[in-house]
Amino acid sequence: MIRYIGKRLLMMVPVLLGVIVIVFTIMYLTPGDPARMMLGAGAPASAVEELRETLGLNDSYFVQLLRYIKNVVFRFDLGQSYASNKPVINEILERFPKTILLATLSVTISVIVGISMGIISATKQYSIFDKIATSIALLGVSMPTFWAGLMAVIIFSVHLRWLPASGSYGWEYWILPSLTLGLSSSATIMRMTRSSLLEVIRQDYIRTARAKGQNERVVIIYHALKNAMIPVITVIGMRFGALLGGSVLIESVFAISGLGKFIIDSISMRDNPVVQGGVLLLALSFSICNLLVDILYGFLDPRIKSQYSISRKRGWRRNAQAQ
């Protein structure tokens, strides 16, 4: 298992290097002169030119790219923010906890709601509950999250006055954003859980469990769910990526000063180092999350785990002997 994790970590390295190249290139191609942006429209051309030279903006693409990679890889240096002149790494790490908190809250909500609704729906297939739940889930999948956030503000903040509409100054500020994000992605998880469980329930080994005289609840929870979870885990991992992307929008809607909103604000200010660093950090978290999903796979599915341990070889030899 440890070898497997090590291998997966090694595989992440070229992918992340590739991400750095892509993000850097995108930002390199972005129009607009950061030096001009920093000094303002009234600054003399000579001062702008001087700043460009200091920032290294006059170097060729490859020189800049290599310098960037070198700084990131060896010194965790993401450069200086053009807007605040502070190191980008400090700026984004300062805002990252809020994004992580939002993502974690939403994933928790979506997993709890999505999986439990999916189980009820699958075990009571074709019932009224199932029909209503699947329709709501389909609506949830179809709703733009940022619009759902806006409508939640209209209903719960403006009209009912139950919860604050924007900011992040206390726990009550997190309710609307995390519910919006969480419930909207629970729809996907619910649909996946339902269809996966329906598939598993038809399998022969479920019949074997019933033939032992096991009661239906244990059959579902102990036998069916563990098998059904395997594809659901994949979806949860993918949702986490979507949540990191979606948090950009939700943070904008609810004015939460997290990393996502910081990236958007920096885009409009042409603060390229911040955008690069921010996207990189989010891509890194996404990769780590995918790694966790893969490890979780190993725990759920012994067939995967045994590919990386020796017990499989032993098992084979034993089989050969027994026959």
Partner: protein, 288 residues
């Protein structure tokens, strides 16, 4: 051999269409999408007012008989703007998905067909693109390109390419093992001919399903980017940018926010239902 293959294929599509027709919700979705397309094409005739007509005596009006969905901060009729907005949403959705399918499909087909080093290199490249959450990639691309319709399409398409490449690659890998591919290799057909004549047509079913669901995603992304000010800019009527301008009036005028979003939701809802229906119709084994 070829003739018989064609014949069974016609039967396949015929059966699929028959199954789809029996699916009431899919037919309803198709009906809604048809209405949307009609709205988009004949927007000038259907919309009660020109979409840019400003009426400073009637700004921020709530829905009434005169303005069914109310008016906005410039006194423009929201219904008319939504009807015109369907043009851009459908256009962006359709063209970005088509672009993504063409490039992604080609990459996937080449990757799956040749395998080996080509496959490895292309798939690692796709892994890199997929390591960046799709929305974030689209946002960065949209920021790098100038705002506008074409660039919006490009940004969304690039973010979608890896998904299609994978679907097509998987389909190609399955089809490649079939005997008729071996047969055409035996009679000396060129690789290009095999890919275009045999493999791609047989990947069509999963592509159609993915494209329908993907178009929903593309319309969502387009509206999200416009909402962030990175896509279609005001005053062009687009659902996302309408929401963007409605935001500052959210405390007093809910109708400005509610209706454009509802339009997005209905469109995507219909595409999702149709996508589910198509999947059931094209691959009946998958049905629960």
């Amino acid at each position: 051999m070829l003739k018989r293959n064609k014949k069974t294929k016609k039967g396949f599509w015929h059966d699929a269409w028959y199954r789809l027709r029996k699916n009431k919700s899919a037919m309803f979705a198709l009906f809604i999408l048809g209405l949307l397309v009609i709205c988009a094409i004949f927007a000038d005739y259907i919309a009660p007012y020109p979409y840019s007509l400003q009426d400073y005596n009637h700004t921020f009006e709530f829905p009434s008989r005169k303005h069914l969905l109310g008016t906005d901060n410039f006194g423009r009729d929201i219904l008319s703007r939504i009807i015109h907005g369907s043009r851009i949403s459908l256009l962006v959705g359709f063209s970005s998905i088509t672009t993504a399918i063409i490039f992604g499909g080609l990459l996937g087909a080449v990757s799956g067909f040749y395998g080996g080093k080509v496959d490895n290199a292309l798939m690692r490249a796709m892994d890199i693109l997929m390591a960046i959450p799709g929305m974030l990639l689209a946002i960065s691309l949209a920021a790098a390109l100038k705002p506008g319709l074409t660039n919006l399409v490009i940004a969304i398409a690039i973010a979608d390419i890896p998904g299609y490449a994978r679907v097509v690659r998987a389909a190609v890998l399955t089809i490649k093992e079939q005997e008729y591919i071996e047969a055409s290799q035996c009679i000396g057909a060129s690789d290009g001919r095999i890919i275009f004549k045999h493999i791609l047509p047989n990947c069509l079913a999963p592509i159609i399903v993915q494209a329908t669901l993907g178009m929903a995603g593309a319309i969502l992304s387009a509206s999200a980017l416009s909402f962030l000010g990175l896509g279609i800019q005001p005053p062009t009527p687009e659902w996302g940018s309408m929401l963007s301008s409605a935001r500052q009036y959210i405390r007093s005028y809910w109708h400005m926010t509610a209706f454009p979003g509802l339009a997005i939701m209905i469109t995507i809802f219909a595409l999702n239902i149709l996508g589910d229906g198509l999947r059931d119709a094209l691959d009946p084994r998958l049905k629960n």
